[in-house]
């Protein structure tokens, strides 16, 4: 029986754990907090699948839409696998207890989402991610009862146990004991979500910080397509964060406009026709950016009854956090960082370039190319978890002796915390967020990116020297260097792609270049960052 260590317990981690356990593996599922706190619960709109071909939709069309939405750099084989498996995935989720909405014929409810030729986004109210998490937590519990899944909370990833290109497990940090321990496994699966902390607060969870990807990068793991960062076109500003107004609002008919000379200009419809409001997210965000003024999303004409029936969470959100009644007033919206198409480079089986190390869900870069379609992230989270589980074999690899390494790392922590220094690590994170927000906006250019890299080099210089702020969780202290290193890799990747494609727009290179229809791979070796272009056959083929 193989032993699998999974880091992260959102939808992807849970799916992988369930799939491994159902194949008889022993799974250790690690996360600081229970799955109910994962960013997965914020996924509102739905999950894409072609369940019904009656209206002319087909799996082939789902594949074409996904490749086109991704601006032709996602791998066709990978996307084909994703879209082909989608119908079974939705049925599987329902069989586990996901409470999908029903249409008048009793079928699973579906709505139109951006960039798709047919309505194929299946939903559970506007809480699809949350309902899926609820179902998966219950299913995982079944395997907990059988002793096949062992959950560990209050535990953070510290680093990989990697030697000569093979992963043997991970170093985990316990906030309770304040020590690092080695947990060995036949395979390690990373399912830690996106890189929100680079930007401070996004539409997502504060828990997703990119540290794991950053740390593994320094341990030899290739990262891919980091420059493709999705700005969701419709968020509302609140005190603490930008909150997502789900694409469901436009899927139900919501219209975007700005005001000019006292008149409403429905600019997306003017530019792209009646379906303009549901163009892919990169296109809508770019148009809002180019509008250069406050843009509004109007749903009032849908009527109170339909709003409360179809998008009640959006109604409640606006009322609570903006004192705005969307049945009577338009919603002032702004684009906000929402999803990371880039991440850990993985092949069709979700293997990284390190043997026995896998990455799944948002932390892996796969399927979405330069821009993700709404409804494809929940699908990819589940699918990737299953694909990785299927590939994991009982390797019975002999284990090197890790005791010296663990002692060394624990000594390092003790030395770092043996200080009365009050240097506020969170301020460095705040400075990083300022740098990243000002350099990786919707539109970038060479000069600002280079200035950003200089700033991050300065922060890295500080981070390497300072002792830990004891009034913060130790995790925030030790994770700083990994997060900064990842941020630098993102900026270097953005600087290396001299074209505009999908979510990556360059002021100095406004056109798409056919010769760059490839993925950006970035590697790390002893402080040196190297980028290269990779064809489909290297990772996604």
């Amino acid at each position: 029986m193989s032993k699998v260590l999974i880091i992260g317990s959102g939808i992807s981690g849970l799916t992988c754990a369930i799939s491994c356990a159902s194949r008889g593996a022993h799974v250790i599922l690690v996360s600081p907090f229970p799955s109910e706190r994962a960013q997965s619960v914020l996924a509102a709109g739905g999950i894409n699948a072609v369940l019904n071909t009656g209206d002319g939709d087909s799996i082939e069309q789902h594949i074409r839409d996904t490749l086109k939405g991704g601006c032709d750099i996602a791998g066709e084989k990978a996307v084909r696998g994703l879209c082909t498996a989608a119908p079974d995935i939705v049925r599987w989720l329902e069989s586990l207890g996901t409470v999908f909405s029903r249409d008048k014929d009793g079928e699973i409810g579906r709505r139109a989402f951006g960039g798709q030729s047919y309505p194929r986004t299946h939903y559970a109210g506007t809480a699809t991610g949350k309902q899926i998490v609820t179902a998966l937590v219950m299913e995982a519990r079944r395997y907990e009862g059988l002793g096949l899944i062992e959950r560990r909370f209050w535990t953070d990833f510290y680093g990989g146990l990697i030697k000569d290109g093979t992963c043997y497990g991970a170093m985990l940090y316990s906030e309770a004991t304040r020590t690092i321990e080695a947990v060995t496994a036949d395979a390690v699966v990373i399912a830690t979500g996106g890189q929100n902390a680079l930007f401070g607060k996004t539409t997502g969870s504060t828990q997703c910080d990119g540290y794991t990807a950053g740390k593994l990068f320094t341990q030899g793991v290739d990262l891919k397509n980091l420059e493709f960062i999705q700005y969701h076109p419709t968020a509302i500003e609140t005190d603490q964060k930008k909150m997502l107004i789900s694409e469901a609002a436009r899927g139900e008919g919501g219209r975007l406009y700005y005001e000019e000379d006292g008149k409403r200009v429905y600019f997306m419809e003017d530019l792209y026709g009646p379906g303009g409001n549901l163009m892919p997210r990169d296109v809508v965000s770019r148009c809002i950016h180019e509008a250069g003024r406050q843009v509004y999303l109007d749903v009032t004409f849908l009527g109170r009854e339909k709003i409360l029936d179809r998008i009640p969470e959006i109604y409640e959100l606006c009322l609570k956090y903006r004192n705005l009644d969307i049945t009577r007033e338009p919603i002032p919206v702004v684009p906000s960082v929402h999803f990371f198409m880039g991440g850990i480079a993985v092949d069709l089986h979700h293997r990284t370039c390190i043997r026995n190390l896998y990455a799944i869900g948002e932390c892996a870069s796969m399927y979405h190319g330069a821009n993700r379609l709404g409804g494809n992230s929940l699908l990819a989270a589940v699918y990737s978890g299953k694909v990785a589980a299927y590939d994991i074999k009982d390797t019975k690899t002999g284990q090197p002796d890790w005791s010296d390494l663990i002692k060394e790392e624990n000594d390092k922590l003790i030395q770092k915390r043996n200080s009365s220094s009050r240097f506020p690590v969170m301020y460095v994170r705040g400075m990083l967020a300022d740098t990243v927000n000002s350099t990786l906006g919707i539109v970038r250019d060479k000069a600002t990116l280079e200035n950003g890299i200089t700033d991050i080099d300065y922060y890295l210089g500080i981070a390497g020297k300072i002792n830990y702020d004891r009034s913060e969780l130790e995790y925030y202290n030790y994770s700083l260097e990994g997060i900064l290193t990842l941020a630098k890799a993102v900026l270097i990747s953005a600087g290396s792609r001299c074209e505009s494609r999908g979510a990556h727009l360059r002021r100095d290179f406004p056109e798409r270049s056919d010769s760059l229809s490839k993925a950006t791979i970035i590697s790390y070796d002893n402080g040196k960052f190297t980028t290269r272009l990779s064809g489909e056959d290297e990772y996604e083929g």
Binding site: F33, P34, E36, R37, A38, Q39, V41, L42, E94, S95, L96, G97, T98, V99, S101, R102, G106, A124, G125, A127, K130, Q131, T134, A135, M138, E139, R141, R142, E144, G145, R151, F153, W154, E175, A176, K201, S205, T206, Q207, T238, D239, Q240, K241, M243, L317, K320, Y321, R422, P424, M426, Y427, G430, R470, S471, E472, L473
Partner: protein
């Protein structure tokens, strides 16, 4: 405005009260106020004494994950879902949930929620495909955050006893209505770990941030639906 917080430096530390000044936006959520105190400047209490940053748990900051459950002015609530303008008086009092062991300041260990559900092996197993079902109630139960606010408010819930509290009544209905092979067992567990202990104060329904109709779950389970 003053913010009075019951603090504790670690699981074995002695609890103590500390007061902070807050002069930011009066429309802010309690979560925003905690962030403001922690990171606007070097953190000092209302007497000007330097102190440690306040530990509290957060993830979504918009009432969808349940991380920031705490007791605010005596009422169990989510910090990100509670606004200063809706609170009476010039002092906001914040305490950790009392029914769970404190890890640090306002962070508590709610692991007992998962442990209890694991004890009774609450899962669906073989799915019961049934068109005639209370879809709306199931959807509402599916939104449960497992935040622990209902357990905090419940006069019958005490850590370590046999009564698993309101969230278990909801999960019981969820399993019983959807499972073909685990329904009878969960009905027995419901009687043992909920029905016998509930005095129907309904305090749980008043504090649930998702407004889950626990009474409806109880009615269904008690009737055997």
């Amino acid at each position: 405005m003053k913010v009075r917080i019951l603090r504790q430096s670690g699981p074995y530390g002695k609890p103590y009260w500390q007061t902070f000044n807050y002069d930011g936006d009066s429309n802010a959520s309690v979560a925003a106020i905690l962030d403001n105190i922690n990171y606007s400047d070097d953190i000092v209490d209302s007497e000007g004494n330097p102190t440690d940053r306040i530990s509290w748990e957060c993830s979504c900051l918009q009432g969808m994950c349940g991380a920031c459950a705490m007791v605010i002015n005596g009422v169990p609530r989510l910090a990100c879902d509670t606004f200063a303008k809706d609170l009476k008086g010039d002092v906001i009092t914040i305490e950790p949930l009392k029914k769970f062991p404190v890890i640090s300041d306002l962070v508590v260990d709610r692991g007992i929620i998962q442990e209890n559900l694991k004890k009774v092996d609450a899962h669906i197993g073989e799915y019961h495909q049934e068109e005639e079902r209370d879809h709306e109630l199931e959807y509402q139960i599916g939104r449960c955050l497992k935040c622990g606010l209902c357990l905090e408010a419940c006069p019958n819930y005490v850590k370590g006893n046999n009564f698993f509290g309101p969230l278990f009544a909801n999960d019981s209905y969820f399993v019983a209505s959807r499972s073909r092979d685990n329904g009878d067992q969960i009905k027995k567990d419901y009687k043992k770990h909920f029905a016998k202990g509930c005095s129907k104060s309904l305090a749980c329904t008043k504090v649930c941030p998702m407004n889950i109709p626990t009474l409806a779950s109880m009615a269904k389970m008690n009737r055997g639906f």
